[in-house]
């Protein structure tokens, strides 16, 4: 029996290792590129022969990248806050209240979740130009909220359905008003779900490329993924690979942190939101 468990452990350990290696190689590669010196950039070696911070120093000196980073952070944060607030309200209604039109709302959000974003690019391009919000933060925040809402509503509804709502009754019996019952009992229980949803929504907004490249035209509101594709290096003659890699690694850091610290929550959020219900 002991031998069997050991061999089972080895077997699973190998499978685990394959997954880990497969998942990490592209990330390690871009990290490696970002630390290479211009001379060794084209040696094709997986691990840098010479290490340097120059690429990072370079991008943080260019306005192009810093501005894009500010845009990315600002736009993603604002979109996340708004989408989570609106999504929380809607998800609470969907999971707790009975009202006509509930199914329609769920249906609409499902449709939007499957919507081909490129279909919105041409009309939004024209509408936003006419409204004067083309190439502004607002011009990106609007579509981000829209496409983040279905995600937020699904994930939050799934979380809210797990809350033992009996507690609300119990709190009322214990002498709480409706407001107190919500604040002291329900809110602390709902908070983890809301937080997880916020992470998922942030990742979604952080990730977008299509809207960002179509609905912006200047550094004023370009986000990092778009700025990356426009990078030319410090001068026209310099190869931008090192700079792009450093910028790419920089915007990957928050993702890595989320995944490291909130793995359990993200898995729970994605699995419950997508299939249950």
């Amino acid at each position: 029996m002991a031998a069997e468990t050991t061999s089972a452990k080895v077997k699973w350990g190998l499978l685990d290792a394959i997954v880990v290696v497969f998942a990490l190689i592209p990330v390690l590669w871009i990290v490696s590129l970002s630390f290479k010196t211009p001379g060794t950039l084209t040696d094709g070696n997986f691990i840098p022969r010479e290490w340097t911070w120059d690429n990072y120093k370079l991008i943080f000196q260019t306005d192009q990248f810093v501005r894009a980073l500010m845009n990315s952070i600002g736009i993603a944060l604002i979109s996340t806050v708004i989408a989570v607030v609106l999504g929380t309200m809607a998800a609470y209604a969907i999971s707790r209240l009975d009202f006509p039109g509930k199914k329609a709302l769920v249906g609409v959000s499902l449709l939007i979740a499957m919507f081909p974003q490129v279909s919105l690019v041409s009309p939004l391009f024209n509408i936003e130009r006419n409204l004067g919000i083309f190439d502004t933060w607002l011009g990106l925040i609007l579509p981000y909220i829209t496409f983040a809402l279905p995600l937020a509503i699904y994930t939050l509804s799934a979380f809210f359905k797990q809350i033992p709502w009996d507690l609300e009754k119990a709190a009322k019996m214990d002498g709480a008003t409706q407001g107190e019952a919500f604040r002291k009992v329900i809110a602390p229980l709902a908070a983890p779900g809301v937080f997880t949803t916020a992470i998922l929504v942030f990742i979604f907004c952080w990730n977008d490329f299509l809207f960002a490249i179509s609905l912006t035209s200047t550094e004023q509101s370009r986000t990092v993924p778009v700025a990356l594709s426009f990078f030319t290096g410090a001068s026209q003659f310099e190869d931008p690979t090192g700079a792009i890699s450093a910028a790419a690694v920089t915007i990957t850091i928050p993702i890595i942190l989320f995944v490291l610290f909130f793995q359990r929550r993200i898995v729970a959020g994605l699995t419950s939101g997508a299939v249950k219900g």
Binding site: D98, N207, R264
Partner: protein, 315 residues
């Protein structure tokens, strides 16, 4: 015992009417609408109106380079697009990418889901690693793959031929695009499938092995049928998602050598060609294709959209 559990289930059923206060019913409705209104408004305003607008645009000759030539021309744009080889090539490429990447992802995703669900050691590590491709910005991953395959720079460039530049040849470029897509989205597929795996009761698998089922039989005869709804949902989501592929192609091949997807050429017509009429026509066609795919999944395979039985939490 059976009486007891039955009573429990029944008292759960009693809870539904309990939750609704007769006088509060109207108030409940009003509150429901009030809470949903902002979300519903934003979603409809930013999708429904533009899609109608884009249908309207698609019926016009509207080139931003020659705005004075704007004119209503009926379905002429559709004729132009549908009789154009570029469109059909892009359509074929998109279909190819979608079918291959989703099929491979289904198999790999199932394997990854099984590993994440059943591994006896390092579960947290595997799950954390698997989330990285899911979370990473697609453009970042695409750059990593691009540099990996770039001759001179990359560690993979000379993998298959010493002289080749894989990203500049159609077949190998498509293969790399598909590979990048699979790498990025297999974890998502696996997570959806894992949710389905969690629904397979352990006792059911034990019973099946007591009944003499082999590992493969347990997988195909017990797990797959129970997981079928989850599998269909995962396939639907991923198919529609793969169909809109844009980021990977943009970075990896920029659509050169006939590797454009429909999203790519719609974008190019709009942003590079500044032709709103043709761009909108393509938008509408893509929208219709996605609608047809979704319809096929729902009607033919009976995919139950998540949330369609949304009130079970209340019951």
């Amino acid at each position: 015992m059976s009486v007891l559990s039955r009573e429990k289930a029944a008292s759960g059923a009693e809870a539904a009417p309990r939750a609704g206060l007769s006088e509060g019913k109207k108030q409940e409705r009003r509150l429901g609408w009030l809470l949903c209104a902002p979300a519903a408004f934003v979603m409809v305003a930013v999708t429904a109106y533009p899609i109608l607008y884009s249908i309207w645009l698609s019926l016009q000759r509207y080139d931003l380079k020659f705005p004075e030539n704007r004119e209503f021309i009926g379905l002429a744009n559709y004729v132009t697009v549908l009789s154009n080889d570029y469109w059909w090539t892009a359509f074929g490429v998109t279909m190819l990418i979608t079918v291959i990447s989703v099929s491979v992802e289904l198999v790999l995703g199932m394997g990854l889901a099984l590993i994440m669900h059943r591994t006896i050691i390092g579960r947290g590590l595997v799950r954390t690693s698997a989330l990285i491709p899911y979370g990473i910005v697609t453009v970042v991953a695409a750059f990593s793959w691009r540099y990996a395959w770039t001759p001179g720079t990359g560690y993979l460039a000379n993998l298959f031929s010493p002289e080749g530049a894989p990203l500049t040849e159609r077949a190998s470029a498509l293969a790399i695009i598909i590979f990048a897509e699979i790498w990025k989205t297999t974890p998502f597929m696996a997570l959806l499938l894992m949710a389905g795996l969690a629904l397979v009761p352990d006792d059911l698998l034990k019973a099946a092995s007591m009944d003499g089922a082999s590992w493969w039989q347990r997988f195909t005869k017990v797990m797959l049928p129970v997981m079928k709804p989850a599998i269909l949902v995962a396939l639907l989501f991923r198919t529609l998602d793969a169909f809109r592929i844009f980021d990977n192609i943009y970075v990896l091949s920029a659509g050169a050598n006939e590797t454009s997807s429909v999203s790519m050429i719609a974008y190019n017509n709009l942003m590079k060609g500044l032709n709103l009429g043709i761009g909108s026509t393509m938008s509408v066609l893509i929208f219709l294709t996605v609608a047809i795919i979704a319809f096929i999944f729902v009607k033919l395979f009976g995919t139950a959209a998540p949330g369609s039985s949304d009130d079970e939490g209340r019951r």
